[in-house]
């Protein structure tokens, strides 16, 4: 099926880059603090919950890719318009845009919260958020190819952090993990649900899809990316469980950062300060992707100039960031967004797939 804004040849990128785009979109602020939520329900079997979530994601991604494959080169916004009609479709698109911006805001604000807690309690929020947003706007203005580049570079620079986790191994108490499967099935599922919000981000495939060079391979690389992320999450979680006691995990706000506290290098004490600063590298791809996808929608739905909508949405994100003053407010908004994402990311794609299926069948029949 034909779609409207087919990207030119110089804008598409090789499909295997998708691997990193997916990883970068999934790993953000969540990885710093997901342990607590999962462990609270699933206890030391939390890693199983993570694996369950991973499995679900693979299924959801399969649906997503199938949906996209029905069209030649369309993103979610166009699919909405086509499958649901102009009004309902646009309404849902707007909802999705709002959701993306919300995600961006949350990522930004929680990062600033981390910075304010660990490094600079006195630095006002507006200063940090506006400087990060400036960076984001600059990146988004460069277009999708630049964003994909940022994703890859950010991956290369931040992956090293993973190795530093090895410092925790001597302190790990592997007995904390057993007995396996002590938690009952219900607990595991709830744990998996708790996990869900942490790993969202792969829905970016909905928007990036038109820019892929070989669209047939999209499924393969997305699934690979998702698998990789799940493994990383699992690794971090297993390490955390072995390193901390259960009560400790429950009390610690950012267990992953606390993991780095133990790292000691001859020329560097207190490695978590480096991590907190370095984490900007990890959240920037997030922000870029969300902001880009949201503004892309504004272009598609309202036919706005994307440049202008980038400025506009950045201002919006900034405003919301400033409204969130206390830790409690951020937490509250986070939980709320988690609920929303459950429906928008995990349930909705499946529904959408069937709608699209019906629509395309119908059309094919009409053509016949």
């Amino acid at each position: 099926m034909k779609s409207i804004g087919k990207p030119g040849e110089h804008q598409v990128f090789s499909t295997f880059f998708l691997f990193w785009v997916i990883i970068e979109s999934q790993i953000g602020m969540g990885i710093l603090q997901f342990q607590r939520k999962v462990v609270q329900v699933a206890h030391h079997d939390a890693w199983i919950s993570v694996l369950i979530t991973g499995g679900v994601i693979h299924v959801v991604v399969w649906f997503m890719i199938r949906t996209l494959a029905k069209y030649e080169s369309a993103d979610l916004y166009e699919i909405h318009q086509h499958a649901l009609g102009k009004w309902i479709g646009n309404l849902l698109s707007i909802l999705y845009m709002a959701y993306l911006l919300l995600l961006g805001t949350l990522v930004l604000r929680s990062y600033i919260e981390v910075v304010q807690t660990w490094l600079f309690p006195e630095i006002p929020t507006w200063l940090l958020s506006s400087s990060v947003l400036l960076l984001t706007v600059y990146g988004v203005l460069g277009g999708i190819r630049i964003i994909v580049g940022v994703c890859i570079l950010s991956y290369l620079f931040s992956i090293a952090l993973l190795f530093f986790l090895a410092y925790n191994l001597p302190y790990a108490d592997w007995r904390s993990l057993s007995p396996v499967m002590e938690a009952n099935f219900q607990e595991l599922i709830i744990g998996a649900k708790q996990m869900a919000f942490t790993v969202v981000g792969f829905e970016i495939i909905y928007f990036v899809y038109p820019y892929l060079k070989e669209k047939k391979k999209a499924g393969r690389y997305t699934q690979m990316g998702v698998l990789y992320t799940t493994l990383i999450y699992c690794l971090v979680l297993v390490l955390s469980i072995a390193f901390f006691s259960e009560g400790q995990i429950k009390k610690t706000v950012w267990p992953s950062l606390s993991l780095f506290k133990i790292v000691q290098i001859p020329f560097l004490e207190r490695f978590e300060y480096v991590t907190v600063s370095l984490w900007l590298l990890v959240i920037v791809p997030n922000l870029l992707l969300y902001l880009w996808a949201a503004t892309r929608g504004m272009k598609k739905v309202f036919h706005w100039n994307q440049r202008r909508s980038v400025y506009l949405s950045a201002a919006l994100v900034l405003a919301i960031c400033l409204l969130l003053k206390t830790n409690l407010q951020i937490k509250f908004l986070g939980e709320w967004a988690g609920q929303l994402s459950l429906y928008l990311v995990f349930v909705y794609p499946v529904i959408l797939y069937f709608i699209v299926l019906i629509r395309t069948r119908k059309q094919r029949k009409e053509v016949k």
Binding site: P121, E122, T252
Partner: protein
Amino acid sequence: MKRRIGAAGLSLFISATLVITGCAQQKILDKMGLSVVIGYDRVDKDRLLGTNVLHQFDPMASESVQIVASTAYTSKGTRDKSNLEMAKKAVSGQLRVTLYSEQLAKEGIINLVDTLARDPTIGARVFLAISKGRAHDILKHRYPEFGNIGTYMYQTISQNIEGESMISPTLHDFMHDYSSVGRDTILPYLEQRGKEGNELVISGAALFQQDRMVGVIPTKEVFYVKLLRDRFQAGSIEISIPREVLGKYMKVSQKKRGNDPIFLVLDTLSSSSTFKLVDKNRPQINTEIKITGRLQEVSEVVDLSKPEIIHKIEKAISQAMMNEGNKVIAKLQKLETDPIGFGEIYRSSVRHSNLTRDKWYEMYRDAKLNLKVEMTLVRTGVIE
């Protein structure tokens, strides 16, 4: 050509005369005795004892300061007298702190401060402070732990102002409050403590009625004066809330500890306040203060992950601050001193009030000053 040579000659002549006769009097840095701190005491009915702490730059000298004291009728008189026993001329362009003894301050110090403000060599950022006991004794004492009493005293005061635990006591602030209608000065109160008096402590703040000292409040209460008078940007405070506030959430073992209050430490406090004059005949001013801060320490184990507990704590802190603050205000009213500046609020809200000092003190005594505090805990650290 001739004219040019003539002009050149003339200008050469003029400049030579200027250089030779018109050289301004030099004040070469190392030829001057630079006072860092000057302390004043009352000797008898009308004589002053001025104690001058001067920098000693000679690397060969055993002490890093030189202390010279002399008596005279005026402050500049003591300086002139001190010069008689010094190798370098005493000048006050690098003055950082002036210290007045409590006794002197109770008589009024405006004539001593006025001369500072009049002197162009003295900066507006000179600190004024009040000493418990004789200023001379504090300055003359040899402190084993710090060499230069002058810079040490200056840094102590400025560090505490930057840390927002003391109200800025600069010369400008003093003159400002002294000459404004509805506000009084508040200065740090220094005290010698410890074994043989080897420690120098800011133990509180001296309250003034105009230029006369009328009382002292401890540092804990200074917090509330500052809260009302200025804005906090990064202060900190230790505060207690009653145990029963969190009683419901405590374990049995914790409950057993009886009724001791729970102590909390808040830091990175920032505050903003609004004042409202409700009644202008019998002045009633309602003050609302909003504070945000970080909970740094709790003296009891509390689960901070529950929002309702945090809200409870916030409420309790607000209540405690309100009580303490109102107490401080009442104390100030009793002493008839207005360091917070309610008078200025009155003046600025009432058109054509023609407020004078005396009028205000009259009203201030039985003004109704209500304080309301709203505390928000922004964050609670890396663990909950």
